[in-house]
């Protein structure tokens, strides 16, 4: 299923090229990324748009997005007909490999901890307990292309020494139950916990010594563990997936330099929701003009599309970008859509941002192939800023299952879109009234200013 195509030295830490092929799905070269889904959709993108305008390697699907009805009965997805219920239920393109994880990335931390047999999850109707036993039955029925075994990951809190001691044991137990009970064809990735290697050495050594043939890959909750993994041939040949949450392209590069194969990248979605169009290329901008005109280290990773400076720009979001958004539309439109809070604004940004990321990974693979990865990373660090630009505008509405309430007195996550009409003491608060003064409306030709 996974083939390492190039590796300088199996014992040394370094970037590598690979190819992942899953029967019936589009094979893809690594390093690459899996798009994150929310309730089975890549946010903002309908499946036809995904098929027509993106080239993501696969999709990361969180089980907790589907099982809110588990407390009262059988979740609908478990009744979905067909041999590939995840694809059938979500209508995602058949070509895309699916990766099933118990929790979303990033996950909301649960008030209750995990137990010896179950973890806490956050569904759209609240917190629930997901036992390993039921997780196995979900995998059995849903037949994801890749399943990540249940892991005892403490979200939000730093685990104490007692907890740390349990994490490896529990995860090891849950993994071996999965390996014992799964269908023969089910591909399983073993989780690597976000704690020191020594604290989970027993668990990881058992994978290296006994289970390397049975697991098909490793899923890292912390990519820094990668260099510590025993470098046996069987382990080295496994694909490595990162559930770590890089906050910038530099961190992506760092993970790849450690030998990561498949990444999940929450910041793409954050950028889209913030109205930021990603513009970074690897290792440098496509047009040398942009690089030299601004000087070293000055280039932004993305452009905030909210400001009015874009309002009349008929330029693409990023020069020479070949995505649907950049070839069919321009900055003025995206700026207008954001400012009018039209959903299409985020759709167009999401298409573009995923395209930029696909291009980024494609350039990275070429760079590794050419043996210039290290030098290219250095150049990238010089040419681009290290972090994403600040967001200035509002994102789309936040939904209840996206965040956890932190207690009483919390401010509203979403601004009220409508106010009461008609009563005089009520201020009209809606998108449908002008933001500007009468003079500006007059200047815009919207209506004429009258003498008061």
């Amino acid at each position: 299923m996974f083939e390492v195509l190039s590796h300088v030295d199996p014992n040394a830490v370094g970037p590598r090229l690979g190819r992942l092929s899953i029967t019936g799905r589009r094979e893809f070269e690594t390093p690459n990324f899996f798009a994150l889904t929310s309730r089975g959709v890549i946010p903002h993108l309908t499946p036809d748009v995904i098929a027509a305008h993106t080239r993501v390697g696969g999709v990361h699907i969180a089980l907790e997005d589907f099982i809110e009805r588990a407390v009262t009965g059988t979740p609908p997805i478990m009744n979905c007909p067909g041999s590939s219920p995840l694809h059938t239920f979500t209508a995602l393109p058949k070509a895309l490999p699916t990766l099933l994880a118990p929790r979303r990335t990033p996950a909301v931390s649960a008030p209750n901890g995990n137990s010896n047999t179950a973890i806490s999850i956050f569904t759209s109707t609240g917190f629930q307990v997901l036992s390993n036993k039921s997780y196995l039955s979900y995998i059995e029925k849903l037949q994801p292309d890749i399943a990540i075994a249940l892991a005892d990951v403490p979200y939000g809190t730093l685990p104490g020494t007692k907890r740390i001691a349990k994490m490896g044991d529990r995860t090891q137990e849950w993994l071996s139950q999965l390996l014992n009970e799964k269908r023969k064809e089910q591909v399983v990735f073993a989780p690597v916990l976000p704690i020191d290697f020594l604290d989970q050495s027993e668990y990881l050594n058992s994978i290296a010594d006994d289970l390397a043939d049975e697991v098909s890959g490793l899923a890292f909750y912390d990519s820094n563990l990668l260099p510590d993994i025993p470098a046996t041939t069987a382990i080295t040949d496994l694909p490595r997936l990162s559930l770590d949450e890089p906050s910038s392209p530099r961190q992506i590069l760092r993970q790849i330099s450690l030998g990561m194969d498949i990444l999940t990248i929450p910041f793409v979605g954050f950028a889209t929701d913030a109205g930021i169009a990603l513009t970074f290329r690897f290792p440098r901008p496509l047009s040398t003009h942009a690089a030299t005109s601004k000087g070293v280290g000055a280039l932004q990773l993305g452009v905030d599309m909210w400001p009015a400076v874009h309002s009349t720009s008929v330029d693409p979001l990023d020069t020479s970008c070949t995505c649907y958004t950049c070839t069919s539309h321009h900055r003025a439109y995206v700026q207008h859509l954001l400012s009018a809070k039209e959903m299409l604004g985020w759709v167009l940004l999401q298409i573009h941002n995923h395209h930029i990321l696909s291009e980024f990974f494609s350039s990275i693979r070429k760079s590794i192939k050419d043996g210039s990865f290290e030098a290219d990373c250095e150049e990238f660090a010089k040419v681009y800023e290290s972090e994403m630009p600040e967001k200035s505008g509002q994102g789309p509405r936040v939904r209840g299952y996206h965040f956890k309430s932190e207690g009483p007195g919390e401010p509203k996550k979403n601004k009220a879109a409508w106010g009461n009409l008609g009563s005089d003491d009520q201020e009209v608060d809606s998108d449908l009234v002008p933001d500007e003064t009468a003079d500006e409306s007059d200047a815009k030709g919207f209506a004429g200013r009258m003498e008061a």
């Binding site: 009349t312 009018a340 009234v433």
Partner: protein, 402 residues
């Protein structure tokens, strides 16, 4: 006055007043009768212009009021109009902005000069005139532009005010015609007013038809009047309108209203309902509207509508095979749920009008109407709305007949 369209009558129903035609506009031909989806702020609620194009839509609406506020005339001018702004290669119709003025803004009042209102931002008095509206629509560059009219709820009991509104609308039409800078590229439609008073409507029709605009709209309806009254107004007006001009009834979109209005001789319709209701999780189908947020759909793995040809419902050949269960799963939780139903609902409306057109061309429209109402009401004639039965009777179709 000059015109930038051609109207070719293809067929006439031998029983009702329904007609099929080809309307050729500056951005290509459209087939009448026609439903126009509403892309209020230059975007159809989350659909890419490409998706809208793939649904078969060739004429959509933008709202002048909204575009005038955002992005504003100056931006539109610099970008080169609404087509360029939204990357839409096909036709656009814009309303005049007057309706939103009156319906959305407090303290708007109408004088002979135009619509007076207080800027909601700083409270200073402002005025929207017919000249402003036309200038904005000229900048937007829409293929069909609408006159500014004096809109009054049809149910208003004040006949004096109603007459004033009707007569003022005629005077404003003259000002719009005079102000129109691109009559060779943009088609100005007049708007018949006159409330539910058939005599006033008749008078208005005569006055406006005499102005010889490229197309004619019937306005002021869809504001809560009884459906029977609505039908009488449409029926009266279409009798008085020239045969070889498109007739547009504003604000109509329920499937039953559409088919009846076509039978009464109307050609073009627009409404936000199909796209708005999609965002509430409602799917329009041949057998009525399904609220897919209802728990009964959680385990329903049938397509949104069996046999529907839209991207969502179709399987194979680029179709997505979206199930009701999935729409239920994402409706009101992910915007994609709204996008999927928007695609379906727009497709439904366009497909409905296509099948209406085909029935007219093949001269089996009365049979089509009987089948349509039977499907909508599960074959139960007692559930048929009285207004529809009555209205169709006036054009020679008896829905109760077997």
């Amino acid at each position: 006055m000059p015109s930038a369209l051609t109207f070719e009558l293809i067929a006439r129903c031998s029983t009702t007043k329904a007609r099929a035609a080809i309307l050729t506009l500056p951005h290509g031909p459209v087939q009448l009768p026609l439903f126009m989806p509403v892309a209020t702020q230059a975007s159809l609620k989350g659909l890419t212009p490409q998706q809208l194009e793939e649904s078969g839509c060739r004429l959509c609406l933008n709202n002048t009021y909204h575009l005038g506020l955002k992005p504003g005339q100056e931006v539109l001018e610099k970008v080169g109009g609404a087509h360029k702004l939204q990357g839409w290669k096909h036709n656009i119709l814009t309303d005049s902005g007057g309706f939103q003025m009156v319906s959305l803004l407090k303290l708007a009042n109408i004088t002979e000069e135009g619509v007076r209102f207080l800027s909601p931002h700083d409270g200073s008095p402002m005025l929207l005139t017919p000249e402003h509206s036309i200038a904005l629509q000229n900048t937007i560059g829409s293929d069909i532009i609408m006159q500014l009219d004096d809109v009054l709820v049809t149910t208003s009991p004040d006949t004096k005010r109603m007459r004033e509104a009707m007569e003022r609308s005629v005077r404003w039409l003259d000002r719009c015609i005079a102000a129109h800078a691109n009559p060779a590229k943009q088609n100005l439609f007049c708007i018949i007013q006159g409330g539910l008073d058939l005599e006033m409507r008749t008078e208005c029709c005569k006055e406006m038809v005499a102005r010889n605009t490229p197309g004619i709209a019937i306005g002021g309806l869809s504001g809560g009047e009884a459906k029977a009254d609505y039908c009488r107004v449409v029926n009266t007006c279409t009798n008085l309108l020239p045969e070889l001009k498109p007739r547009y009834v504003m604000g109509i979109g329920y499937p039953e209203d559409l088919v009846v209005s076509v039978a009464l001789g109307a050609d073009m319709f627009d409404c936000v309902w199909p796209t708005r209701t999609a965002r509430f999780g409602n799917a329009i189908t041949k057998y009525g509207v399904l609220n897919l947020r209802h728990a009964s759909y959680a385990n329903d793995f049938a397509p949104v509508e069996e046999g529907c040809g839209c991207v969502c419902c179709r399987t194979g050949d680029g179709g997505l095979g979206v199930t009701r269960a999935f729409v239920h799963h994402v409706a009101a939780k992910e915007t994609v749920g709204a996008h999927l139903l928007t695609m379906h609902n727009v497709w439904y409306q366009l497909a409905l009008m296509k099948s209406v057109r085909q029935a007219i061309i093949e001269d089996r429209f009365p049979a089509f109407l009987r089948k349509f109402f039977s499907d909508q009401h599960g074959g139960d004639k007692s559930k048929y709305p009285d207004w529809a039965v009555e209205a169709l009777n006036t054009v020679g179709v008896d829905l109760m007949e077997d």
